[in-house]
């Protein structure tokens, strides 16, 4: 057991835990997006960026080490996170009013939490295709934020990946193994949709099942369950 401070609060840290895990265990919310419980963190979105000794690092990948002094809610850090979210909004085609995931979307929920009324960057309106060729799921590339949660979590019983990153840089997209995806079970299709933070993986033939007002982030901001830890 070691000790670190996050925004001045002393936090007990079990050996080997990341800063994000230590913060959560101590009732401090650090926003994450590409990180997902049970999956190996990759630090691809940088929304969880914190400052340790003047250096910026991803809280989801950085292991907490004895004596670390972590800044989490400094105004410039929060603004940097907000700008990352805004960049994610402008670089894809995020049409919330038409999206099946609206209200359950983590990107949208973070934008609500950070009160993003309009992004400061110009919209890119990239030309991306919708792939509905698989029997159980639709791949909506317009909404993909390259978090790779699906790549990391959805695998066949013998450990083969169904979702795979293709190409590099701006042309990068998440493709599927055509044969493996055609064998996807309902259960795995549901898991894939749930693991996707945005509306990029959708189950076919179902949608808009939960009415507005009862969806995950309709009433309470993302991270509320961790915030409430503090007051308890």
């Amino acid at each position: 057991m070691s000790e670190i401070t996050i925004d001045g609060k002393v936090c007990k840290a079990r050996a080997g835990l990341t800063i994000a895990e230590v913060a959560k265990a101590n009732g401090i919310y650090i926003p994450t997006l590409c990180n997902y419980r049970g999956l190996k963190p990759v630090g691809s979105c940088r929304v969880c960026t914190v400052r340790v000794g003047g250096r910026y690092m991803a809280a989801c990948t950085q292991i907490a080490v004895e004596g670390m002094v972590v800044e989490n809610t400094a105004p410039d850090l929060e603004d940097m996170r907000r700008s990352i979210l805004e960049m994610l909004f402008v670089e894809g085609n995020h049409m919330c009013p038409t999206c099946e995931k609206s209200g359950n979307c983590e990107l949208q929920a973070l934008a609500y939490r950070y009160q993003i009324m309009a992004p400061r960057f110009p919209f890119q309106f990239p030309v991306r295709q919708v792939d509905a060729s698989a029997p159980k799921i639709v791949l909506e590339h317009n909404r993909c934020i390259q978090c790779q949660r699906c790549v990391r979590s959805i695998q066949t019983e013998d450990g083969r990946r169904i979702f795979v990153p293709q190409n590099r840089s701006r042309r990068r997209k998440i493709g599927v193994d055509p044969r493996l995806v055609s064998e996807l079970t309902d259960e795995m299709a549901l898991k894939a949709m749930d693991v996707c933070p945005v509306g990029s993986i959708l189950r076919k033939e179902v949608g808009f099942a939960v009415p507005i007002g009862q969806r995950k982030f309709d009433k309470k901001p993302i991270g509320t369950e961790i915030d409430e830890e503090i007051t308890r």
């Binding site: 009013p97 999206c99 609500y112 009324m117 309106f125 990239p126 030309v127």
Partner: protein
């Protein structure tokens, strides 16, 4: 002191945001006491007749007329507000942004069903506004001061923003007011 003057316009939108303005219910009586409406579809005044304090824009810019109206709003209004997703990010009309304009027009006027199939043309009268290459958010055409998201924005966020701006106090937005759908 004279009442603050408000103007509104619907550009490439569906008028849903204007419906949401009317959705403030009986508060509309108080609104009439608080402000005076100028150019707006609500009172059907077509041109600006005096300087306006607050301009409210619904919808993005999809043609030359939208751009002209938006620029006249910027010129005549002290404060300009983008109301709703279409004004802020193009919204549903912007779903055509990945498709060339030629293909859009052909799909709408040449390849679609028609009651006069032998007579299909793409409208091209000089009276008609020219369709832009894509749909633009308002703040990429002129400077916009405030943004109220939602599809449509709730009556409550509209009311809160209107009264805050008119009274010159900071906006007090609660979590359930900011929604993108």
């Amino acid at each position: 002191m004279s009442k603050p003057v408000i103007a509104t316009a619907s550009l490439a939108g569906c008028f849903g945001c204007h419906m949401s303005i009317l959705d403030i219910d009986e508060r509309i009586l108080k609104l009439i006491e608080l402000v005076e409406f100028n150019k707006s579809p609500i009172d059907d005044i077509k041109t600006f007749t005096k300087p306006v304090d607050l301009g409210i824009i619904e919808g993005g810019c999809c043609n030359s007329e939208n751009v002209e109206v938006l620029r006249s709003f910027r010129k005549n209004c002290r404060i300009l507000v983008s109301l709703g997703e279409c004004a802020i990010m193009g919204g549903l009309p912007a779903m055509r942004n990945g498709i060339p304009v030629k293909e859009c027009l052909e799909e709408a006027y040449l390849n679609s069903l028609s009651v006069a199939p032998e007579d299909k043309i793409i409208p091209n009268d000089e009276e008609l506004p020219i369709v832009l290459d894509k749909v633009y958010p308002c703040h990429e055409v002129v400077k916009v001061d405030y943004f109220l998201p939602g599809c449509p924005p709730s009556a409550d966020i509209i009311w809160e923003a209107l009264t805050a701006i008119v009274e010159g106090r900071p906006l007090n937005l609660t979590y359930d007011m900011i929604k993108f759908d």
